[in-house]
């Protein structure tokens, strides 16, 4: 997750300011420990009320018998709190179909984990939004993937767009911090500005743009994925829009998710649009944050308790929380894959091996590299940097 607004506009959003601040945590071992623990995405259920074509979870309308129960979920949250996980992201399927969601959110908040939610927004009634807010929910990310017609086609249900926008309005009404999740594809790239305009009008100020991951149903979707030029163009548009809105005094927060070539691109953007000192500052902040977080700063637990290196890597599991506590699984570097994934800059091959941005990118997504038959440590096919950008002198990380 790369905060464009923080990097390019010094937007002091909660969390981001801290995440990118190179000074904080250096002399505080407890803080540093927390900082290194992963955000845990808990796919609480595989059930969903929609049928999105790009769903990474391959969600279904029927319940899966052995989903973690409420009691097991609480025990998992205890394990996560013991381990020091800073954030738990309740996801799915559609987490709102779980009737114990508010109970679990409250439990996480009481245990000292920041609870956040990823939802399609269509079940966010005033009553449930208020219940979640009172339970301590810190943030709701609501997915919208195009204007009405396109979104509903994507989501497989008529009226899903209207319901999601109403869900966003409801969250804002009850005072819940809310943001957009938009997965950019060739099919909806033209709607992006329209969706941001519309949601800005309803009062939203946080926009997260996701690159397509290759897992779940998305795996069959590489024909709708953007090519390198299209990707560069949309990322540039997002950067331009962010900078422009800040210049006009509109403090929107924009984030890019799922493709760390964006980190490299933003350094290049800062050099081109501002100057070398700005590029070095941006690089230093990104270096503090690290590159693609797979197996390091993000973890996932699926609805049956399997622990994955990211929520998108569904075909491989490190272990199951019904067998061992989460922390034991996550710390077990006797697993050679986990160890190697955590040392990616040393293991990368192909054009990533000598890319000057490998420390802030980590070669992008391992899943997409595997899907493209580039090998476990090969380049992410979604990388859109050109050879000159990759080969220049490495910016220094100590510019601050």
């Amino acid at each position: 997750m790369i905060s464009v607004s923080t990097l390019l506009c010094d937007h002091a959003a909660d969390g981001n300011r801290l995440r990118y601040d190179v000074d904080i945590g250096a002399d505080n071992p407890v803080s540093d420990r927390k900082q290194r623990r992963p955000v845990v995405v808990w796919n609480t259920t595989n059930r969903c009320n929609l049928k999105c074509v790009h769903c990474y979870a391959g969600a279904q309308s029927e319940p899966k018998a052995a989903e973690l129960t409420t009691a097991e979920g609480k025990r998992l949250l205890d394990d996560l709190a013991d381990y020091g996980a800073p954030v738990v992201l309740f996801s799915g399927g559609e987490p709102m179909v779980r009737e114990d969601l508010a109970e679990l959110v409250a439990y996480a908040a009481e245990a000292g984990i920041r609870p956040v939610l990823s939802t399609n927004g269509t079940l966010l009634t005033t009553e449930r939004a208020r219940e979640l807010k009172e339970a301590g929910l810190a943030y709701a990310g609501v997915s919208v993937d195009g204007l009405a017609e396109r979104n509903d086609e994507f989501r497989g249900v008529d009226g899903a767009f209207r319901a999601a926008v109403e869900g966003i309005e409801t969250c804002l009404d009850v005072g819940l911090k809310t943001g957009l999740r938009y997965t950019v594809t060739r099919q909806n790239v033209e709607d992006l500005d329209g969706v941001v305009d519309l949601l800005t009008d309803v009062g939203l100020d946080r926009f997260c743009f996701y690159h397509l991951s290759y897992s779940g149903r998305g795996e069959t979707l590489d024909s709708v994925d953007l090519d390198a030029d299209e990707r560069r163009d949309v990322v540039k548009r997002i950067c331009d829009r962010t900078v422009r809105s800040h210049r006009e005094g509109e403090e929107i927060e924009t984030l890019l998710v799922g493709n760390y070539a964006d980190a490299a691109y933003i350094v290049e953007y800062a050099r081109r649009e501002f100057d070398e000192a700005a590029a070095r500052r941006v690089y230093a902040r990104l270096a503090r944050n690290g590159g693609d977080p797979t197996g390091e700063r993000v973890a996932a637990v699926d609805c049956l308790g399997n622990v994955h290196p990211t929520q998108f890597w569904r075909t491989y599991s490190l272990g199951n929380v019904r067998d061992r506590p989460f922390g034991d699984i996550w710390e077990d570097e006797s697993n050679p894959l986990l160890r190697a994934v955590r040392n990616r800059p040393e293991n990368l091959t192909g054009k990533c091996a000598d890319c000057r941005y490998r420390e802030i990118c980590h070669g992008g997504s391992r899943l997409r590299a595997l899907a493209a038959d580039n090998g476990l440590f090969g380049p992410d096919p979604q990388c859109y940097l050109d050879a000159d950008e990759r080969r220049g002198a490495r910016p220094t990380a100590d510019a601050d």
């Binding site: 995440r19 391959g58 998992l76 399997n306 019904r322 050679p336």
Partner: protein, 101 residues
């Protein structure tokens, strides 16, 4: 006298929300023991092996796959037991990783 360790049997059941789950074991080289390295999700043993080799071929000499549902597990860890009380964090103002939030 050594005290007997108390373990419980984990309920058998499907471990894959979609498809089938296969436990994965690899041996790095001849004299090493087989090591459990997680599980993969695939329709059959061939698919599981294929996936396993893409993840571990660079490391492993031997690769075994076993249907997850065929493993009966006994453990001292009990996810379903009553959750103990956890002290709330006292360091909520410290810098935190906000990835995905």
């Amino acid at each position: 006298m050594v005290e007997r360790t108390e373990r419980r049997r984990i309920e058998d059941g499907d471990r894959a929300p979609n498809g089938r789950e296969w436990e994965l074991f690899v041996r790095s080289d001849g004299s090493d023991p087989m090591r459990h390295v997680g599980s993969v999700r695939a329709a059959d043993a061939e698919g599981a092996y294929e996936l396993a080799t893409r993840l571990f071929a660079w490391h492993a000499e031997d690769v075994w796959v076993c249907p997850s549902a065929a493993v009966t597990r006994y453990t001292t860890h009990d996810l379903a037991e009553d959750a103990p009380t956890v002290e709330p964090s006292t360091d909520s103002e410290e810098p935190r990783n906000r990835e995905w939030s």
